[in-house]
C-alpha cells in the first residue's frame, strides 16, 4: 500500500525523463497526460480508504490523509486537463513559430516536473520537505512563465522568481523556528518537523517562538498563494505563461501553497490558540480581496483579468480558513476544486483568443460567441462558474463560506467580503459580455481550436456540471479533511 504514495510523485518524473530523452512528441505528451491521470486515480483510490486515518510511506517521509488526498484530486484533475490541452497548444505554437523545437522540449520536461513537485508538496509528512517541494515549483515554472522569451515574458519571469523566492525564503525561516520550538518541546532531531510529531507536541511548543514562526510562514506561503503583501508577481506571471501552464498555476499551484498554510495552521492553532492566525488570515484575505476587486474594475487585459480573479478567490479562501469551522474548511476545499476546473476552462479559451488575435486586450476581442461556439460557450461557462452562479459548485461553496462566516460571528468580515465579491462580479460580467457578445469587427480572424484543446474544454464543462450537481463521495472526503484541521462545529 505504501508504494501507492509514490505513484503521484514518480509517474510524472518518469514522464519528464522520457520527454528529456525523446524530446517533444505526441508520445511523450500522452505519457505526461497519463502521469497526470495517475495522480488523479491514486487520489481516488487513497480517498476511498482514507477513513481509517492517515497512511504513511517510505518510513514516515510521506503522509496521505483526507486533506492531501483532496489536493491530489485537484492536482490530478486540472493536471490531466491541462496536459491534454498542451498537445494542441504546443503544436499550434510551433506552427505559428511562437516557440521553437528547443522551447517545446523544455516545456515537455518542465510541466511533469512541476506536477511531481506539487504532488510531493501535498504528500510530504515533513514540513521541511514540503517547503523544498514548493520552492521546487518556482524553479520548475520559471522558464515556463518566460516560455515566449518576449520582453514582457522576461519581465514577468524576473518578478516571479525574485518575489516568490524571497517569500518562500521567509517561509523557510518560519520552518526553522518551528523546528527549534519542536526540539525544545522534546522531539528528536530526525522527526521534529513531521506533521504527526508536531501535532502531538503542539501544546508544548513555546508560544512566543511559534507565533514568530507562524507570522513568517503566513507571509511566505502567502506569497506563493498570491496573498498580500507579496502578490505583485501574480498577474504578470499568470498572464505571460502559456495557457495550460496558466491554468495549472492559477488553478492548482495557488491552492497547493495555501495547503501548506492549512497544514501549518493546524499545528499553530493547537500551540497558540486559533486567534493568532485567524487575525492574520483575515487581514491578508480581506486586503487581497480589496486589491483584486479594485484591479479587476480597471483591467483592460483579459489574461490579467483572469489572474486577478484567481487572487480574489484566494482572498476568499483565506477568509474561509480564518473562520476555520468544519463547514468553512469543507466549503473551502470544494471551492478550490471548482475554481481549478473553471480556471482551466477560461485560461485555455483565453490562450486560443490570444493566439488568434495576437493580443490580450479586451478591446481587441469581440463577438466570440458568434465566431466560435466552442470557445464562446466554454469561456462563458467558465465565467459563470467564477461568478458563483448555480448550477455550478462555486455557488454552493460561496454560500457555505458565507454561512460559516456568519456562524463564526464574523458578520463584518462577511459584509466586506461580499462587497468585494460583488465588485469583482460586476467587472467580470462587464468585460466578459464585451468579449463574448459585442459585434465583431468585419474581417476578424477565424478562431481555430486544436482538437486536444477542444476535448479538454468539453471535459472541463462536463466535470463542472457533474461537480455542481453532486459532490458525491468527495463531500465525505472534504468533511474528513475539515475535521482533521480542527474544524469542530
Amino acid at each position: 500500500m505504501n508504494i501507492l504514495l509514490l505513484v503521484p510523485i514518480l509517474a510524472p518524473l518518469v514522464a519528464a525523463a522520457l520527454a528529456a530523452v525523446l524530446g517533444w512528441r505526441r508520445l511523450t505528451a500522452l505519457v505526461t497526460v497519463l502521469a497526470a491521470l495517475s495522480v488523479l486515480v491514486t487520489g481516488a483510490i487513497l480517498g476511498s480508504r482514507v477513513g481509517s486515518g492517515p497512511r504513511f510511506g517510505i518510513g514516515n517521509l510521506l503522509r496521505a490523509d483526507a486533506l492531501s488526498v483532496t489536493m491530489l484530486v485537484v492536482i490530478g484533475t486540472v493536471g490531466t486537463l491541462a496536459t491534454w490541452a498542451s498537445i494542441g497548444y504546443i503544436e499550434a505554437e510551433l506552427a505559428h513559430r511562437h516557440t521553437d523545437r528547443k522551447g517545446a522540449n523544455l516545456y515537455g520536461v518542465l510541466v511533469p516536473i512541476f506536477l511531481a513537485a506539487m504532488a510531493l508538496a501535498v504528500l510530504a509528512n515533513n514540513i521541511g520537505v514540503m517547503w523544498v517541494a514548493i520552492e521546487a515549483t518556482t524553479v520548475a515554472t520559471a522558464f515556463l512563465v518566460g516560455h515566449r522569451r518576449t520582453r514582457a515574458a522576461l519581465e514577468a519571469t524576473w518578478k516571479y522568481v525574485v518575489i516568490c523566492s524571497v517569500g518562500i525564503a521567509l517561509a523557510f525561516l518560519g520552518t526553522v523556528l518551528l523546528y527549534f520550538a519542536s526540539l525544545h518541546a522534546g522531539a528528536s532531531s530526525g522527526n521534529a518537523l513531521n506533521v504527526d510529531v508536531l501535532l502531538a507536541l503542539a501544546n508544548r511548543l513555546d508560544p512566543a517562538v511559534t507565533r514568530l514562526a507562524a507570522g513568517l510562514l503566513l507571509l511566505g506561503y502567502g506569497a506563493k498563494a498570491g496573498l498580500v503583501p507579496f502578490h505583485t508577481w501574480l498577474a504578470d506571471a499568470h498572464s505571460q505563461a502559456p495557457a495550460p501552464v496558466s491554468a495549472l498555476m492559477s488553478g492548482v499551484l495557488l491552492s497547493v501553497a495555501f495547503y501548506a498554510l492549512l497544514r501549518v495552521k493546524s499545528v499553530v492553532d493547537l500551540a497558540v490558540g486559533t486567534g493568532f492566525l485567524r487575525t492574520g488570515l483575515l487581514i491578508v484575505g480581506l486586503l487581497t480581496l480589496l486589491i483584486a476587486a479594485s484591479l479587476l474594475v480597471v483591467q483592460t487585459d483579459f489574461k490579467r483579468m483572469l489572474a486577478y480573479s484567481s487572487m480574489e478567490n484566494m482572498g476568499l479562501v483565506a477568509v474561509a480558513a480564518a473562520a476555520g469551522t468544519k463547514l468553512a474548511i469543507a466549503a473551502l476545499l470544494l471551492h478550490v476544486l471548482a475554481h481549478g476546473i473553471a480556471k482551466t476552462l477560461v485560461f485555455l479559451g483565453a490562450g486560443q483568443l490570444q493566439a488568434t488575435h495576437d493580443s490580450t486586450q479586451i478591446s481587441d476581442v469581440a463577438g466570440v460567441l458568434a465566431r466560435s461556439p466552442m470557445i464562446g460557450v466554454t469561456f462563458a461557462v467558465g465565467l459563470v462558474i467564477l461568478l458563483g452562479l448555480p448550477p455550478f459548485a462555486m455557488f454552493a461553496s460561496e454560500l457555505s463560506i458565507s454561512r460559516a462566516l456568519a456562524d463564526a460571528g464574523l458578520g463584518w468580515v462577511l459584509g466586506a467580503a461580499l462587497l468585494f465579491v460583488v465588485i469583482a462580479f460586476a467587472a467580470l460580467v462587464r468585460n466578459g459580455s464585451r468579449m463574448l457578445l459585442g459585434t465583431p469587427e468585419p474581417g476578424s480572424p477565424a478562431i481555430v481550436v486544436p482538437r486536444s484543446v477542444a476535448a479538454a474544454l468539453v471535459a472541463s464543462v462536463v466535470l463542472s456540471l457533474a461537480l455542481g450537481l453532486t459532490a458525491g463521495p468527495l463531500l465525505g472526503l472534504f468533511q474528513t479533511a475539515a475535521t482533521l484541521l480542527g474544524g469542530t462545529q
Binding site: 515533513n126 520537505v129 517547503w131 523544498v132 518578478k159 525574485v162 525561516l173 483592460t300
Partner: protein, 220 residues
C-alpha cells in the same frame, strides 16, 4: 576547544557576517559586492564548523565544509560570471536611497532584529542563540537591499544575502535542520541562483542591460 574559545569564535563569525552585510549596503561597485558576499559565505561556514568541532559532531563539520564551498566559492563565482565584462554593468545605478540614509536604516534594522529575536534567546539562552540577532539583522538588511537596488544583479546579491541570513539562523539555533531538508534547501537555492543568472543573460540580450527600471511593460 574550550567554552571560551568556542563562544569567542562564534561571536567573531557572527560579527563578521553582519559587517559584510553592512559593507554591501555601503559599496556600489558590483565586483567588490561579490567579494564581500564571498567573505560573508566564509563567516557563515565558520559557524557550523565551530559548532561541529566543539561538539565533536562529524556530520556537522561536513555540512560546514559543504556550506563553505557553496556560499564562499561556488555562488560568488556564478555571480561574478553573470556580471560580465561590460563597463556599465559593473556599477549599481544611482541608488533610490542615498548611502547615508541606507546606513542609518541598516542600523535601525539591526536594533529591530534584537527586539524580534528576544523569544528565541529566552527559550534557549546559549552562546549560539545570543548571536541570532546578527543573523536576523542580515535577513532584514537583505530585504532592504532587494527593495532599494535597481540592478538585477544587486537583487540577486540581496537574495543570496537573505539566504545566508536564514542559513546562519538555522545553524545558530538548532545546529542545522535535518540533512534531507538542508540538502533540498541548498539545491533549491543553487537552482534559483542559476535561474537568476540565466535570466540576467536573457535580459541583457533583450533589453541591452539589467537596470530594472527598464522593466515597465507590465502594469496594473
Amino acid at each position: 576547544m574550550t567554552q571560551a574559545t568556542y563562544s569567542g569564535v562564534l561571536n567573531l563569525a557572527a560579527g563578521a557576517f553582519l559587517l559584510a552585510a553592512v559593507l554591501i549596503v555601503w559599496r556600489r561597485e558590483l565586483r567588490s559586492i561579490v567579494v564581500l558576499l564571498a567573505w560573508q559565505g566564509l563567516a557563515l561556514g565558520v559557524i557550523p564548523l565551530t559548532e561541529g568541532i566543539y561538539q565533536d559532531d562529524a556530520p556537522l563539520i561536513t555540512v560546514g565544509l559543504v556550506v563553505l564551498l557553496l556560499r564562499a566559492v561556488a555562488l560568488p563565482l556564478l555571480l561574478a560570471r553573470a556580471i560580465g565584462t561590460e563597463a556599465h554593468e559593473r556599477r549599481e545605478s544611482t541608488p533610490l536611497v542615498n548611502t547615508t540614509t541606507s546606513l542609518l536604516i541598516t542600523a535601525s534594522l539591526t536594533v529591530l532584529a534584537y527586539a524580534v529575536t528576544r523569544p528565541i534567546i529566552a527559550l534557549d539562552p546559549s552562546p549560539a542563540t545570543r548571536a541570532v540577532p546578527a543573523a536576523f539583522a542580515v535577513i532584514l538588511i537583505a530585504v532592504f537591499v532587494m527593495v532599494s537596488r535597481r540592478r538585477a544583479l544587486s537583487q540577486a546579491v540581496g537574495f543570496m544575502m537573505l539566504d545566508n541570513g536564514i542559513a546562519a539562523t538555522a545553524f545558530l539555533i538548532t545546529a542545522g535542520v535535518p540533512v534531507i531538508v538542508e540538502l533540498g534547501a541548498s539545491l533549491d537555492v543553487l537552482f534559483a541562483v542559476l535561474v537568476l543568472g540565466l535570466l540576467t543573460g536573457h535580459m541583457r540580450r533583450t533589453f541591452g542591460g539589467t537596470d530594472l527600471d527598464q522593466l515597465r511593460e507590465l502594469r496594473g
